[in-house]
Symmetry: C2
Subunit: 242 residues, 2 copies
DNA sequence: ACCTGAACACCGTTCAAGT
DNA sequence: ACCTGAACACCGTTCAAGT
């Protein structure tokens, strides 16, 4: 039964629809709760039916990342290389922030799909057009690392959703005193980051500022190398001549 | 039966032993194959027994990362800040390379254990001792990101273990031609990276060189900021005055 | 009081039996 | 030829029943 009974979900399955449903489900319940079975249920379909559109769960996740990449906006082609890279990466960032699971999915995927390669090619092409050698472009891409996807790793804890039942004020104070003694420098930079508001260590720092700080540091750094005609051959032989 | 029958595994369980066994198992079979049940079996113990030493699987993984952090070697205290950070990070890199699963485990963990905080405190302390303000130190740590753990993200495919049955030479050539047309810049930088040896795109690049390139780029960049007396307040008001 | 086997509520994926 | 229910070989974790 329920074969043609409920009549609500009649749109035929397709890879596109499976992937979009995967993205929507991950947006709603988090990536950890996305399973083949749960996704099938969401689509009103038997789990096995998904296997006609994706080979396995890995391919599903790859495809979901591709959907996010599809949301990246290409920058105005008239921009100079630095502005173009900035815009492209900040557009990627907006997409990744819209899909909180995407960061972890991108980090754990190793498969390079056409969408992934296409994006990397566009970024590399921007550097090449800006006068970077293929050699330097390669190293620059490595230096940017996952920042080309618009995110940098979480250094500190994610803000916690009150999992422990709120310690008493005096216990809280004792804990902070111990923290200050054991990790004085971490405390210090957390204070510097939040101008004194310590609601959860590391909780209140301006991630967007950090991202752009690091991005510009890297772009300015490689710009300088480009101007100097840096090559990896010269860099290697400077360390180990011969 | 087997309660006292086999006599081989009699060392009493402890958190230490559980974590070390977890590390050894992950080294052997990969992190994906590490399950509570499998680990218990490896220790000659019923799965439930592990729960006396770790609260759950998340805590097991956190503990395993802590074991790896325990292998980091603190640098000679007489080194200047840049050399000290370099040594520390490169020591972390050696440990992470010894445990290939550690990279992914560190990326996916969000819990900040005492071991994690202790290491971050040491790195932050090195910058502070080198004349960096707490403010700049904070931004520098963010810019380094996961590179303080000794790894940078994989940009290209991991070398694949012949999963497809080796295409025919002409098919291989057709595939390469299509790749060259669709992703010319990716191809170009792959060629530049490997000096023409393209056994698997992106396969043969010198990751250690890339890592040190990016590390030095960042350290030199922040050194310049330190000399200039950079502050985030000034940087912010340069963008949006007032 | 301690320990643990069985059970619960899931997984991804295969495959044989049905139409 | 197509489709799919049941099954396989797993998970992490709970809990009640046993000693």
């Amino acid at each position: 039964m329920a074969q043609q009974g409920d009549g609500v979900r009649r749109a035929p399955l397709s890879r596109e629809r499976v992937l979009r449903a995967g993205v929507a489900l991950a947006d709603e319940v988090g990536i950890a709760a996305v399973s083949m079975r749960r996704l099938a249920q969401e689509l009103g379909v038997v789990p096995m039916a998904l296997y006609k559109h994706v080979a396995n769960k890995d391919e599903l996740l790859d495809g979901m990342v591709d959907v996010v990449i599809g949301e990246f906006e290409p920058p105005d082609p008239d921009l100079d290389w630095k502005a173009a890279v900035r815009r492209r990466v900040l557009s990627a960032r907006r997409a990744v922030l819209r899909h909180p699971w995407a960061r972890q999915a991108i980090e754990s995927r190793t498969r390079r799909t056409p969408a992934v390669l296409g994006y990397m090619d566009a970024v590399a092409g921007t550097f090449r057009a800006g006068g970077f050698s293929a050699d330097l472009t390669h190293h620059v891409m490595h230096a940017l690392g996952n920042r080309i996807w618009g995110f940098s790793p979480e250094l500190f804890d994610e803000p916690r959703g009150a999992e422990s039942p709120a310690p008493s004020p005096e216990e809280q104070q004792a804990r902070e005193a111990e923290f200050a003694q054991r990790y004085p420098h971490v405390l210090e930079i957390a204070v510097a980051a939040t101008q004194g508001d310590l609601s959860g260590v590391g909780g209140g720092c301006d991630e967007q500022f950090e991202f752009e700080f690091a991005l510009d540091l890297l772009l300015d750094g490689v710009d300088r190398l480009r101007e100097q005609g840096w090559t990896s051959r010269a860099a290697r032989s400077a360390v180990a001549p011969g």
